[in-house]
């Protein structure tokens, strides 16, 4: 059974696209057939992070409009053969993306792939609502920062009301990914604690992604971080997240300050 996973946040700039690419690549490396879909309208990001920007011919709106068939629009990743990308449109306005069109495309994608990872745009308007509409699983990306947490809360409310699953009376699986976690700031007490964020948002924690130069490097070269450097701390956290999404129980590693030698020797484990 294909699974549709929506990566959303409300707030912009918290790491949705990075997370979409990282989770998509990690799922593909684990043997799944994956398609990552960019739901933004007018701005295109996922293709750059995936390194496919030079090969985009057709986009999601071309497919929903009927200008192109889905196989023509899908861009196969050059590094992982079971990973594909459906890019966003740069030239249309938000009303061009229709409910019926998206529903039809999602149906076609479910037939071809095991996982469909939808990169939501920021905000709560049309693009964000369409990205979540057909999701079976939602990953809410949050920074440990007040406006990000409040926006994530808003998005969780929408997940519980505006999705097909919610309208049917089914529940949608919701997970929290905490990104840009800075262990030094956490130690000093300058950052919202993980427990505070969990208490406010009340959804299960999928992963804590530490702030890292590797994420920037990966996007600079156009490769998902889990593929560019699978051993770095953010990649390991994303790979653990994928294992949890697939049903495995993996102990949660809280990123620690790299400077501490003791911490390098032992990974702290939290249930």
């Amino acid at each position: 059974m294909a699974k549709v996973l929506c990566v959303t946040s409300g707030k912009g700039g918290v790491g949705k696209t990075t997370t979409t690419a990282a989770l998509g690549a990690a799922l593909a490396q684990a043997g799944e057939k994956v398609c990552v879909v960019d739901f933004d309208v007018g701005l295109r990001n996922l293709d750059l992070i995936m390194g496919a920007e030079r090969r985009v011919v057709y986009d999601l709106i071309n497919v929903t409009n009927g200008d192109a068939k889905l196989p023509q629009a899908l861009i196969r990743d050059k590094r992982l053969e079971n990973l594909s990308l459906l890019p966003a449109s740069q030239t249309r306005d938000k009303d061009a993306l229709t409910d019926e069109g998206v529903e039809r495309v999602m149906g076609e994608l479910r037939e071809k792939f095991d996982w469909i990872v939808c990169d939501s745009p920021a905000g709560i308007e049309r693009g964000a609502q369409l990205a979540m509409r057909h999701a079976d699983v939602a990953v809410v990306v949050t920074n440990p920062e007040v406006s990000s947490v409040r926006d994530s809360d808003r998005i969780i409310g929408l997940l519980d009301s505006k999705t097909v699953r919610a309208e049917r009376g089914d529940s949608i699986e919701k997970h929290l990914i905490l990104t840009r976690f800075d262990p030094a700031r956490a130690d000093r007490g300058d950052m919202l604690k993980v427990d505070d964020v969990l208490e406010i948002l009340s959804i299960p924690l999928l992963a804590i992604i530490p702030e890292s130069l590797e994420v920037l490097r990966a996007s600079n070269v156009g490769c998902p971080v889990t593929l560019n450097n699978p051993l770095c701390a953010p990649s390991r956290a994303y790979i653990d997240a994928v294992r949890r999404l697939k049903g495995e129980t993996v102990p949660m590693a809280i990123p620690s300050d790299r400077k501490s030698l003791i911490n390098k020797l032992f990974t702290r484990r939290a249930a």
């Binding site: 750059l48 390194g51 030079r54 090969r55 011919v57 192109a68 023509q72 740069q90 600079n220 070269v221």
Partner: protein
């Protein structure tokens, strides 16, 4: 600067700069001519259909934006008997 920095491979920052320069140069031009590729594809298909029956799905159009030039690749697969049984010109409607 130490020897190590000298020997280190080029930083990702310069890769990013090159990628951006290339793609933005193409996008600035393409925004003046939206759907160029789509138009080209449809017209190529129509031209081919005038002479040979070919399934639309068997025509792949690929684009690769490169330094100073873009490469448009058109890949068409049609069975040999289609070549042998070409359509008589009288029947073809104009595109």
């Amino acid at each position: 600067m130490s020897v190590l920095t000298f020997l280190k491979p080029r930083g990702s920052g310069s890769v990013a700069r090159e990628r951006l320069q290339l793609i933005l140069a193409h996008e600035r031009v393409e925004n003046g001519r939206p759907d160029l590729i789509i138009t080209l594809r449809e017209e190529i298909l129509n031209v081919i259909a005038k002479h040979v029956t070919v399934e639309r799905d068997k025509v792949q159009i690929k684009l690769d934006r490169g330094e100073g030039v873009s490469t448009l690749g058109v890949d068409i697969e049609f069975p040999v008997d289609a070549v042998l049984n070409q359509k008589p010109k009288a029947k073809r409607a104009s595109a």
